[in-house]
């Protein structure tokens, strides 16, 4: 079944090449371009769903859908594709978000061809990261995802509050590249130790403890800036706000997950002792993410900034899940990556919908739009509820797992000191973060949609056709399905998480810490 991964990866690549030779002279050509792109991402989506369906979480085979083509034998470098449960969840997320994103981008009228070419290149990079089992290709695809982003924001983006789109895209690219270079140093250090680029070999190789403790922070910090971890987060909300809708969707929905995924796939895989040595501090930083991000979101007036900072707040839960280093917390973190990706893609798609018509996202200018845009407004309220952790949506289930994981982690030892961060501090921060998120989201809902009908927005058009509604409906359905029946995705994720070497270093598992710390 290895070809499924190849289909997922190659389908957008083929689209990229085909689009290159397409004319773009009139509206018919543009329509054909859109159809072509949508067709190809649909193929990816179908393949991803099949992957999810045929993935066997209980099997002893950790890596499934394998492909191994030797490339440079002297360097032990091969083109290796394959996934575990975590990868399956991420591939599924990416294919869903890009599928919805392609539909949402139908509203772009300017340089349609270039837009879709870059979008396809971007998604090839993202798929590549999630599918690679080779450090070289992992890094290659990682960088490949960053470059199209630079152009997409720079060309089709919009001004974000007081920052120009050029500033935003420069900042984003520099941040991600700097992080990637830092991580590259760590990756090379791992290569020089093991002599192979094969990710599958990392678990078996025994790195010395001093090596792990020295190199874990390098790799972690390199990738954590893309999560984004506080205080390396400032590129992210500005980048979200400046990007065009489909790119924001992909950026917040998927690109940010690359960081956490890379941490799991490389840092946790190779350096579990380093992880358990350092992760206590992440338990501290994630509280900053959660609370601080939420509070800044509360003081924002631009909708995309609100969602942008809320993303950085929510990614704090992912960091917390990573910091717990037990099955529950890690599975929760991956589940939350999935849930947040879909939720935030929905948010940016919806904001993009009316921003094209209102040309403002500042909540003080908006208001009273629900009467004119009942469909978009209803979807937005559903999104806000999901994001605020309402049960029935995947975000709640995943945050719950993270919180349960944190509770049973038995505390976070802070490396370099004798201190231990009691488990209940991040738990309280996490639960209080849900209260904060409800505050700014409901405020955003009220200021944007509710209230008396605003004559300024009398001309707004709601989503009418199936093509306009499809992406939003699909994302909501997935959010609700995985929220009501979390086993659909949690069982898959578990299949990956249970093999993580870092687990053996965990203090506690989901069994509550009866009597611990007393």
């Amino acid at each position: 079944m290895g070809w499924l991964g190849l289909v997922v990866l190659l389908s957008p690549l083929v689209a990229c090449v085909r689009l290159f030779f397409r004319p773009e002279k009139n509206d018919n050509d543009k329509e054909a371009i859109r159809r072509l792109a949508i067709g190809h991402v649909t193929v990816s989506l179908v393949a991803a769903v099949l992957m999810w369906f045929f993935y066997k979480p209980d099997s002893d085979e950790r890596w499934q859908f394998l492909i191994d083509v030797s490339w440079v034998e002297t360097m032990n470098l091969s083109f290796r594709l394959g996934v575990d449960g975590i990868g399956v969840a991420m591939v599924l997320l990416t294919s869903l978000v890009i599928w919805a994103g392609c539909y949402v981008s139908c509203s772009i009228k300017d340089r349609v061809k270039e837009h879709y070419i870059l979008l396809m290149a971007l998604v090839v990079g993202v798929f590549g990261v999630f599918l690679s089992l080779d450090l070289f290709f992992f890094y290659f695809f990682y960088e490949m995802a960053v470059i199209p982003m630079f152009l997409l924001i720079g060309i089709w983006g919009s001004r974000a509050a007081k920052y120009s789109k050029e500033y935003a895209t420069m900042k984003l690219t520099l941040y991600l590249t700097a992080g990637a270079v830092l991580a590259l140093v760590g990756v090379l250090a791992i290569y020089s130790e093991t002599g192979t680029f094969d990710i599958r070999a990392l678990k078996a190789h025994e790195f010395s403890e001093s090596f792990q403790i020295a190199w874990f922070p390098v790799i972690f910090l390199g990738f954590a800036s893309i999560i984004p971890m506080w205080p390396f987060h400032s590129w992210s909300p500005i980048g979200h706000a400046a990007a065009p809708s489909s790119v924001s969707m992909l950026h917040a929905g998927v690109l940010m997950k690359l960081g956490a995924f890379a941490v799991l796939r490389i840092a946790y895989e190779a350096l579990p002792d380093g992880a358990s040595y350092w992760m206590g501090w992440v338990g501290v930083l994630c509280c900053m993410n959660i609370i601080y991000g939420g509070l800044v979101a509360m003081a924002q007036r631009d909708l995309k900034f609100i969602i942008g900072f809320s993303s950085s707040s929510h990614m704090g839960y992912v960091l917390l899940g990573l910091a717990t280093m037990n099955t529950t917390g890690l599975a929760g973190a991956v589940f939350l990556m999935f849930a947040h990706g879909i939720m935030t893609a929905l948010a940016f798609g919806l904001i993009g919908w009316f921003y094209e018509q209102t040309h403002t996202r500042v909540v003080d200018d908006l208001g009273g739009m629900l009467k004119k845009l009942p469909f978009i407004g209803t979807c937005f309220i559903i999104m806000a509820m999901a994001s605020a952790g309402l049960p029935g949506f995947a975000n709640f289930a995943s945050e719950l797992l993270v919180i349960l994981g944190a509770w049973s982690s038995g505390g976070f030892a802070l490396a370099g000191t004798d201190l231990v961060l009691p488990y209940w501090i991040p738990v309280i921060a996490a639960i209080w973060g849900i209260v904060i998120s409800a505050t700014y989201l409901l405020r955003a809902v009220k200021d944007t949609w509710l209230g008396p009908e605003n004559p300024r927005w009398a001309e707004l058009k709601d989503a009418q056709t199936k093509r306009q509604k499809a992406p939003f409906v699909a994302l909501i359905v997935v959010l609700a399905l995985t929220g009501c029946f979390p086993r659909l995705i949690v069982d898959t994720i578990k299949g990956g998480v249970r093999h993580l070497p870092a687990l053996s270093k965990s203090v506690g598992d989901a069994e509550p810490v009866k009597g611990a710390e007393r």
Binding site: L295, V435, K446, D509, P512
Partner: protein, 623 residues
Amino acid sequence: MAFLAWVTLLAPLIAAITLLVRPRLRGSSGGPKLAIFSVFICAATSLVFWLFRSETVTTSFEWMTVGDLTISIGLLVDNLSTLMLLVVGLVGSAIFVFARGYMKGDPSIGRFYAKFALFVFSMLGIVLADNFLMMFIFWELVGASSYLLIGYYFEKPSACDAAKKAFLTNRVADFGFLLGILMIWSLTGSFEFAKIADAVKDGDVSGPQWQLTLAGILIFVGAMGKSAQVPFHVWLPDAMEGPTPVSALMHAATMVAAGVFMIIRAFSCFDLGVGATALGGASMFIATTGGVTAFLAATIALVQRDIKKVLAYSTLSQLGYMVMALGAGAYSIAMFHLTTHAFFKGLLFLCAGSVIHGCHHEQDMFKMGGLRKKMPATFWCFTIGMFALMGLAPLAGFFSKDLIIDSLHQKHLVGLQIGATVTAALTALYMTRAWLLTFFGEYRGHATPHESPPVMTRPLKFLAFVSAVIGLVFYYGHGQDYLSAWHGKFAGPLHMDPTIAVVSTVAGVVGFLIALALYKKSHRGGEKIVARFPRLHSLLVEKYYIDDSYHWLVQNVQQVIARGCRWFEEAIVVGVLVGWPVGVTRWTGDRLRRMQSGRLAFYASCFVGGVTILILFLYTVAH
């Protein structure tokens, strides 16, 4: 029977989803009918459960499993949940039918019924939950449907604010609830009520007593949000912005009682036998909270002008009674009062709805009056509901309220007992005031009041009948065995001390007579007292300044912190952490750029200088 339990739970959900995805159905009369039918199903199944009540039904499926942790979604139909099902089903049916008349002509009536059915689903989820996490899930869903329904008239800013306030107040309280659940999980190792009860009974609790007490208090904080206890009470009066049927079902009969129900369900796990509980000091805290709420709310109700607000504060006050009973450990009595209250308060709200409908959406009682003759059916039903609330024998409230006071007496909570008795007098006072202002004297409004159509008065009559008899049936019938039977834990049959009954009846009569003396002749009867105690009056009108102080806190604390964080973000994180490296890079680049000036003389001199240094260097090295 397990299948029937699932049907009960899912029927309203299916109706809600059907209404959501079928816009055409929403516009027609079929939409409301579908929703009403789904609630009738719930009422019917709950009657079936009632008939087979000796049987406890449990069923569950695995929601998710991670590591050693399994979270399940399961239904538990025992005596307690059957009674609550019956309340939700019967009161819900009456109100759903009533709403067809009340909401007639509303263009988005389908949306209304979709949300209303969603609420019933979430409420049933709370009732049927067999573990804490599932209860929390539906608890939140109830909060969300409350948000949607309070904000039903979303073009009214006050309704949107009220909806947001309700949701956020509950969210803050749920913070405590979730923490409490986690604590209990870590103490007993389970989320399931049955397993928690076993662990507590066997003393298999991994922690000292104070942790169990703290967990109990935290869980109670959750109930304080939903059941609107001081200081979380502020959202309930504002919630009256929703349509009146919503106020009747959610904010009087069922949803606000969910807190009390949850506590009964939760604390029955901590019960160690006759009267003893593993909760320690939590009980005292709970009883006091209830007492304070009951008294404060009753005093505020005295000065309200809006008929729905009077009833809202009355609801707060009655919830305070139930919570007092919980604090006194009299769970079955609290449940008894919950049941009777659901019927008579639902009735009173529907009567208010009928009055509002008849007066063309006028809610100010001072613009009503004399409706007794114009709306006779509503008048009589309101009267029955009012006397039931005041505790006039043999109507429902007489039994349940006096039993609560009796339970306080048995626990020697003298202060609370006196407070509860005084509150009974106040209850009579504000209800009679509302009754006289609305139905007696001359009509003072500008509309032409008319009696409501049968689709609205029939549910009134049904609820009035139940309110009249339910106390008797329970007290003298099988009800009391039933109430004390679940889990086989709660002690003894209900028994009332005659002295207490007499005292509280006298208190009620005193309140009734004072109101009669003040308002019988003129609706301005209260003005003399207001003139004599202006400060007390403004204190009550301003609701003890609690809302204002919260507003101040949000504006001056929360927002200031948020703006501070934003400033930090822009000035420090972006300005310094990012800005300085950027500045240094720019500056260096700028300096180096100047070397590329394009002047040949400069390049030549650099070349000469470089060569000279190189030669000198090589020369030094060579020697």
